[in-house]
């Protein structure tokens, strides 16, 4: 079907460009490392507080990485007016959204998977046992973040103050995702039973579904105002 072919072409193009610029993904990763560095200094991490604020640190670090990574996701489309080309194409615009979304999701998940071991190392965490739970949490949280981020990236990339506007739009709406992810992660780090924090994961899934569907439907209008 043409719909899926569009998704495939978009994702192919994004991943190929990303592959050609391999430095790009590693730079995201080093950005996150920098954030951790700054955090570890700004909060006194050797004290007892560390366990308390660890989930927050993890997710704020991921959040800022997402702001940098997702914010530029539509830049590649604007550089040579490719958005304009999309606008004049006789294809379902939602497919473009899904293609970009999938590419971004993959990109963010890759960065996160590399980062988790580093958290373990740097903060002497014991989370190897609960690796699967953490993976689940970060996947559902990242789906929501990427869905919103893709939409807002397309929205802000064409305006003047995009560096500021992107986080201003993204952050308030992603608060539920942050809360869900932080609370679920806190459960995991406390080694709670899964059922004690599973409702947070359910919350995340609900938001994922809402964000993906609404963004998919609304994206049409970004390309065809």
């Amino acid at each position: 079907m043409h719909f899926f072919r569009v998704i495939r072409w978009i994702a192919w193009k994004d991943l190929l460009s990303e592959y050609r610029n391999r430095e790009n993904i590693s730079s995201m990763f080093f950005f996150a490392l920098n954030v951790i560095l700054i955090f570890s200094f700004s909060f006194s991490l050797d004290s007892e507080t560390i366990k308390e604020i660890m989930p927050g640190i993890i997710w704020v670090a991921f959040g800022f990485t997402a702001i940098i990574g997702l914010g530029k996701s539509f830049l590649i489309e604007v550089n040579n007016d490719c958005m304009e080309y999309f606008q004049t194409l006789p294809i379902p615009k939602g497919a473009i959204y899904l293609g970009k979304f999938l590419g971004n999701l993959l990109f963010m998940l890759t960065v996160e998977i590399v980062l988790f071991p580093l958290f373990v190392l740097f903060f002497n965490l014991d989370m190897i046992d609960q690796f699967l739970q953490l993976l689940l949490i970060s996947t559902v949280a990242t789906i929501g973040l990427s869905a919103l981020g893709t939409l807002f990236s397309a929205l802000t990339v064409q305006i003047r103050a995009r560096e500021v506007m992107f986080p201003i739009l993204l952050l308030p709406l992603s608060v539920p995702i942050f809360i869900g992810a932080v609370e679920a992660t806190r459960g995991v780090l406390n080694a709670d039973a899964f059922s004690l924090y599973s409702h947070w994961i359910e919350l995340l899934v609900v938001f994922d579904v809402i964000f993906v569907i609404v963004s998919f439907w609304i994206f049409e209008f970004i390309l065809d105002y």
Binding site: E23, F30, L33, L37, S40, F41, L45, N124
Partner: protein
């Protein structure tokens, strides 16, 4: 040509550096791992010092080289000096990583943690990240002069971190070992001082050797690129 003279000089003397490094490091490893006695407190674990400290020191030596070469580049704008900068940065990153890894391995038994947020460790991590940034900046720039100049600028401003690394153990209360050689004298047992000195000087000279080789390699790559360009232009490629 400055570049050809410089490269010729490197080619002429590199083998002496290689030879000296081999001799010193072999002697250092032998005395360090076989003849010297284990530490009173730390036991056999202390032997990692003979790798850790030389690596950490050489990382700083390499960064200082990068710093001086960067100033030299901004002053003279010689392409070969930029190659030396590039080489020094890569090697500095290599030795920094070595220092971090050996330090972590040493830290697990002594501090019971791979990593602590201690001033020396962190300032060393800053150097690591600065070097990563340096090499990354190079990959994102196409224009040769721009690449050389911009990265030199970064290297120069990043140099402020070096005094912090060295003196952090003095300035802040720190978990890390204090300076063993300072204005208060030498605080190492003579038994350990011999392999320690051999390894320190040996790895330092090893770095010089690697720098000489790597600079030549990068310079040749640069020549090859130019040659390729000429061929491309003449339609022969």
């Amino acid at each position: 040509m400055v570049a050809t003279r410089f490269i010729g000089w490197l080619r002429k003397y590199e083998k002496w550096f290689g030879l000296t490094a081999t001799v010193l490091i072999s002697a250092g490893l032998y005395t360090g791992l076989v003849t010297s006695s284990p530490d009173y407190y730390q036991g056999e674990v202390v032997r990692i010092m003979y790798v850790h400290v030389p690596f950490a020191q050489t990382a700083m030596l390499a960064y200082s080289t990068l710093f001086l070469c960067s100033i030299w580049y901004l002053w003279k704008k010689e392409a070969v000096v930029d190659n030396a900068c590039h080489a020094a940065a890569g090697l500095s990153l290599f030795f920094t990583a070595g220092g971090l890894i050996t330090g972590s391995i040493w830290g697990k038994p002594t501090w019971n943690a791979w990593w602590v947020w201690d001033p020396r460790l962190t300032s060393f991590a800053i150097m690591f990240l600065t070097l990563v940034g340096y090499l990354m900046l190079r990959t994102f720039l196409d224009d040769k002069e721009k690449k050389a100049t911009f990265s030199a600028i970064l290297a120069i401003i990043g140099f402020v971190d070096l005094p912090i690394i060295h003196f952090s153990v003095e300035w802040w209360r720190s978990l890390h070992q204090p300076l063993s050689v300072s204005n208060r004298g030498v605080s190492i047992a003579p038994d350990m001082l011999v392999p320690f000195t051999l390894m320190s000087i040996g790895v330092g000279i090893l770095f010089s050797y690697m720098l000489m080789v790597r600079t030549q390699m990068l310079y040749l790559e640069h020549l090859l690129e130019a040659k390729q360009g000429r061929l491309l232009n003449e339609g022969q490629l």
